[in-house]
Symmetry: C2
């Protein structure tokens, strides 16, 4: 006898559909207009924020739902600068990893470990959560850079603890102070990836928070979601697709061949945006200027060719992953770090959503429908 | 201008309600009948499993949705025995923690770190996931015991790699082979906590899995949820309530006073069970026998008094947390480890749900309703 004989699954419209279409949260953190191609962070259009603001300012905006005044911004900069160093044991852990270790797994473990060294780790008050948000945001660039130096046999660098997070990250990664253009490009990448509504990792962050668990637990959970290929892993996939190519190759032919073979062209289309992803628009502008500066114009030309072919052949537009991949690559950053850089930015959105969830909390727990048997007779193992 | 002026929130019945009542998944892993007080794991009632089965058998049941035959069970035992040792670097991490570290945070970090040493960490195929489920399940008891020994200044013990997980756990924790009664009690605790429908940590596990992320990521996320006081932290709270008492105290008066002061009596009532929690029924029987064996009958008598007073005064029954707390305590286990022991058992349910989600996957992502402003004008920081 199976117990599901009489179950009419059509009576459960949401079953196994990933909660699609269920409006589960109210939020003041961000708004996406997919038809218009518009993205707003707490009232401000990213078309203004990307060229005019900074990542630090965007952190403040997402956390406080308003822009900081000059004193507040200065104070946040100081806090973010003074918290960049890692506890020795976390650095030792990073040193103990191998080049085979997965960057996102190392980042998740290191952030989880930070809880051991944070006196407020268990304190879920709004004040402690805010201070922890700053500390975690500060330390993520240091973790990523330390891991990448270590696996390349280079000395791990202490942060300069000056300038922007983008500046210190590039310094720790490359061992030299970045130029103004590189810093601005990295900063704009951080701005553009900071927040994007109820994506899968943000949803995980809120779900963990809702048990009244702490921020380190919620962020480690979110990082687990972000690393999935259906979420944050896409920009790495874009670059891996391009890396098989050579300078002289016919890019248009390559893409058309992929399409003919029904292979996926990474970095195109988006579940929400039905037009040009506004983040891709800003990244595209940067990609051009940057490629010129570092003598990798071929990479930008490839990108433009691919965008053109995809529009002609399939009428779909690039998403944020497409141009961020080539931007990071022309900055000399290895493709398998791209998801980590995504996390380094999205930490601002995760922590903002944690704060919002905690302020109006309810345990997040949908139901399941049992389709199995119910009355099986237990026999001892010898009788099976 | 606020953009939410015209939003009718009543049109969004699910908003900020924690997805309550939404049937989001189908599952063959477990069924709870809250009215009857019945819990079924993949067809078998826990009233049969608790006294007759073993935790290893329950792992097999949850993973395969059928009970093993003698050969399969033998083979699973062998696999679970041979995978208990920790990589040296994970053990070194545990040695580097301090007695102030939170046990659930250390367990989460250590499990996350295991990914670095698992050659199949990134492989999300069903076969690799199954093998990783065994490896993680094997190693959790070793992590918990190592942490507890270390923080008490005792030498960390290697697993004996024989007998049941319950046996080796108690050996590594206490430094001596447990007696038959203690092993059976611990094993039954593991059986009773193994799986419980779409609870918050299992939901987190499935959400992380749904991005096609790997098992270590999903389990680390689930552990973040489990540690929350609204989820797995409750049995620790029960014991902390009792620890303030002395042998001669009038327990009935203590409980009545708490009720009069509107203080919460931990370990009573359950969102799902409207009658006696079937898990509490089995734990209660064990608690009596065990208390006698270890000369802590006063603890069992306290429990019975509290159950009686709560029934008389409030007509509510104890839940699984109430008796598991006194059972663990009479086994000499410190209260702040109880949530870790919960995780040591629930890993079977988490991994089973990961397998089920991956086999019929869809990204889990509800929507949010934006209530903030939309058209704020960006002014430079000096103008704010």
């Amino acid at each position: 006898m199976t117990s599901n004989e009489n179950i009419d699954l059509s009576q459960y419209p949401h079953i196994d559909r990933g909660l699609e279409g269920i409006v589960a949260f109210s939020s003041r953190k961000s708004f996406i207009d997919g038809a218009k191609g518009e993205l707003i962070y707490a009232g401000y259009n990213i078309d203004d924020l990307a060229p005019k603001s900074t990542f630090e300012e965007v952190c403040f905006l997402l956390w406080h739902e308003r822009l900081p005044n000059a004193d507040e911004l200065k104070s946040l900069h100081a806090d973010l600068q003074s918290n960049r160093e890692l506890p020795e044991i976390v650095e030792n852990y990073i040193k103990s990893t191998s080049p085979k270790s997965e960057p996102m797994a190392v980042l998740r473990t290191a952030v989880s470990m930070l809880a051991d060294f944070d006196d407020e780790a268990r304190d879920v008050s709004p004040e402690a959560t805010y201070r922890k948000s700053i500390r975690i945001t500060s330390k993520i660039p240091t973790i990523i850079a330390a891991f990448d130096r270590m696996r390349n046999g280079k000395e791990i660098l202490k942060p300069l603890s000056e300038g922007s997070l983008a500046f210190d990250f590039l310094y720790m990664l490359n061992g030299e102070r970045p130029g103004k253009q590189a810093e601005k490009v990295m900063d704009m990448c951080l701005i553009l990836h900071a927040e994007h509504g109820m994506n899968a990792s943000t949803f995980t962050c809120r779900s963990v928070c809702a048990t009244q668990s702490d921020l380190h637990a919620a962020v480690a959970g979110a990082m687990g979601s972000l690393k999935g290929p259906l979420h944050g892993g896409a920009n790495t996939a874009v670059m891996n697709m391009l890396l098989g190519l050579d300078k002289g190759d016919d890019i248009a032919a390559f893409i058309k061949e992929r399409l003919a073979k029904k292979q996926k062209v990474m970095g195109f289309g988006h579940r929400v945006y039905k037009t040009f992803d506004p983040r891709a628009y800003h990244l595209r502008k940067m990609a051009g200027a940057l490629a010129k500066e570092v003598n990798m114009e071929y990479l930008y030309e490839w990108s433009e060719t691919i965008v053109k072919v995809m529009k002609e052949e399939k009428n779909i537009d690039p998403n944020v992953d497409f141009f961020s991949a080539t931007v990071y690559y022309s900055m000399g950053i290895k493709p398998d770090l791209y998801t980590c850089i995504f996390a380094m930015s999205r930490i601002s959105g995760w922590t903002a959503h944690y704060m919002e969830q905690a302020a109006n909390n309810r345990l997040i727990r949908p139901r399941q429908l049992y389709l199995g048997e119910k009355n099986l007779e237990y026999k001892s193992v010898d009788e099976r």
